[in-house]
């Protein structure tokens, strides 16, 4: 495989994710009103705005530093459960890539896997609990499978985005077992999980950024 992810594309990923979160801020909050506490959109938008301020001011970092800083910023600006979870995701992503200035598809998949492992360890949620994990696990697995079969970077990230979208849809019928939605019991069924929704944006943003080259 020849196509690598450039530093520029990774910065574009963060920008694209920030844009999607900001554009859908009210929608995320609306989803969270139904089964949570009506703050996911506002919290993620605030966090990503802080991250992007820092990224803009700080263009010369390697990939590892960029994502570790992004993660730290999310932890210290978001609060709630999303802060530690997305923060841990980006920090572990950055630890995995090290000081690289571009990533091979395999390095990208490995970094996403490291981020996912961090989220699982911090949040202790399992597949099917109606959380962000239900979008993130299928996305990472789809990408690993695509690259394993020699697919291109664009195809692998598109497969991940599609798997995340399907994972997000699947949360609608799930009974929540983690987070505030779990307090609703049966009443959580029929609502789409806000965390899985923002995670689907994360992978949609990645596919779009890679596509832009």
């Amino acid at each position: 495989m020849t196509d690598n992810v450039s530093f520029k594309q990774l910065v574009a990923w963060l920008h694209e994710f920030g844009t999607l979160v900001n554009q859908n801020k009210s929608y995320l909050t609306e989803l969270d009103s139904a089964i949570g506490d009506a703050d996911h959109g506002a919290n993620m938008a605030r966090g990503m705005t802080s991250v992007l301020n820092l990224v803009d001011a700080d263009g010369a970092d390697g990939v590892g530093t960029l994502f570790k800083k992004a993660g730290m910023t999310l932890v210290s600006s978001v609060g709630g459960a999303s802060g530690p979870l997305y923060g841990t995701f980006f920090m572990k992503f950055g630890t995995s890539t090290g000081a690289a200035d571009q990533l091979t598809p395999e390095q990208l998949a490995a970094a996403l896997r490291a981020g996912l492992d961090g989220v699982l360890a911090r949040g202790k949620a399992e597949l099917g609990d109606k959380t962000m994990v239900d979008a993130m696990v299928p996305a990472v697995e789809a990408m690993e499978k695509a690259f394993g079969e020699g697919e291109s970077l664009a195809a692998g990230t598109a497969a991940a985005a599609e798997a995340a979208r399907q994972g997000r849809e699947a949360t609608i019928e799930m009974l929540a077992r983690k987070g505030r939605a779990s307090y609703l019991g049966e009443r959580s069924v029929g609502h789409q999980d806000p965390g899985a929704t923002s995670t689907a944006y994360l992978f949609e943003a990645l596919a779009a950024s890679v596509d832009k080259a």
Binding site: T29, S33, A34, I35, G36, D37, A38, D39, A42, N43, R46, V75, S76, S77, V78, G79, G80, A81, S82, G83, P84, L85, R122, G123, A176, R177, K178, G179, R180, S182, Y183, L184, G185, R187
Partner: protein
């Protein structure tokens, strides 16, 4: 949305300024959004740090002061504070005998305090944690994030605060916290939703003639809703699940009837009368009580009931002097 605010984004910043201006016994670290005692505790005593989302006032900032907390971290509205805030609070109040983190059991709060405790431990501060989990509305705690921390947090901060003030060591303070946690249960209900300023509209719709039973303190919907009943019926719906969950018969208890923010005191007193009648009938003796708004949910109307088993030790600590904006006696 009608609220006494300037800008939606400035609600907490502006409120912290007001808290600092109104209470000479506290000071505020505005950068970290931490409320601290104006006069720190003596060296060698265990310090208590709590915190949580804003919107529950007087919890937690109103309980900073002699006999209760040493510091409280204010998060965004209904959103856990962040590890850097907690770390700043922990370092600021450590008097050499260790710090107890009092955490309400919510996924975000637990994770953020966990990260803060990891950082503090790396810096050599001895940190212990108690996670308050008293809400009997959460029935199947094996398949949920566990019981929520609600009203018992107020009683725990008072009682454990007194134990720390007496100079008990960290292990002994933790033991008192665990004892309170084991003997306390709560149940709440809402007559209306609340409106988070950033959302601008009520978190959930509740028709004029319906109520929500088993709510938490964040405007999250409860377990079920039904046609509104009399205060007597509602008191029964709150007290019964508590008595069913833990055997209080023959015990002395501390009872709190707590308002969710928009319920007049006259209704809370009325509810207390109903709760007392039910407890009398069940053979439960009320040793102390607290009626008022202590752990609120912005402008939600409704109330919660908390019961705590109170032996001689607990009552002694309850009666010990306290001087905070939210609770003040014995001085």
């Amino acid at each position: 949305m009608k609220k006494l605010i300037n800008e939606v984004d400035d609600v907490i910043t502006d409120a912290l300024k007001g808290i600092e201006a109104s209470d000479e016994n506290v000071r505020v670290d505005h950068q970290n959004r931490v409320i601290l005692r104006a006069t720190p505790k003596e060296k060698g005593k265990v310090a208590l740090v709590s915190g949580g989302g804003s919107g529950h006032e007087p919890l937690h900032g109103g309980f900073v002061g002699l006999g209760m907390l040493d510091a409280a971290c204010a998060g965004q509205m209904f959103t856990s504070p962040t590890p850097d805030q907690m770390q700043a609070a922990t370092t600021a109040v450590d008097a050499g005998a260790g710090v107890l983190h009092i955490v309400k059991n919510y996924t975000g709060d637990v994770m953020n305090f966990e990260m803060a405790a990891e950082i503090a431990a790396d810096e050599g501060v001895k940190v212990a944690t108690v996670v308050v989990a008293d809400d009997v509305a959460v029935q199947d705690s094996l398949y949920t994030a566990g019981r929520r921390g609600v009203g018992l947090t107020v009683l725990l901060e008072k009682i454990v605060g007194a134990a720390a003030e007496e100079g008990r060591d960290l292990d002994a303070v933790v033991a008192v916290a665990n004892k309170v946690n084991e003997g306390g249960r709560s149940m709440g209900m809402a007559l209306t939703s609340c409106t988070v300023p950033a959302a601008g509209k009520p978190t959930f719709d509740l028709p004029e003639d319906e109520m929500e039973i088993g709510i938490g303190i964040h405007g999250e919907p409860g377990r079920h809703r039904e046609k509104i009943g009399s205060a007597r019926d509602i008191a029964k719906q709150l007290v019964d699940p508590i008595l069913h969950d833990l055997d209080y018969a023959g015990s002395d208890v501390i009872v709190m009837v707590n308002g969710m923010g928009a319920t007049p005191l006259i209704e809370l007193y009325l509810m207390y009368g109903e709760v007392k009648a039910l407890l009398d009938e069940a053979g439960v003796t009320i040793a102390r009580n607290l009626v008022g708004n202590y752990i609120t949910s912005l402008d939600m109307a409704g109330c919660s009931v908390t019961l705590l088993k109170a032996d001689e030790e607990i009552l002694g600590l309850w009666d010990a002097p306290v001087k905070t904006a939210g609770l003040r006696w014995g001085l």
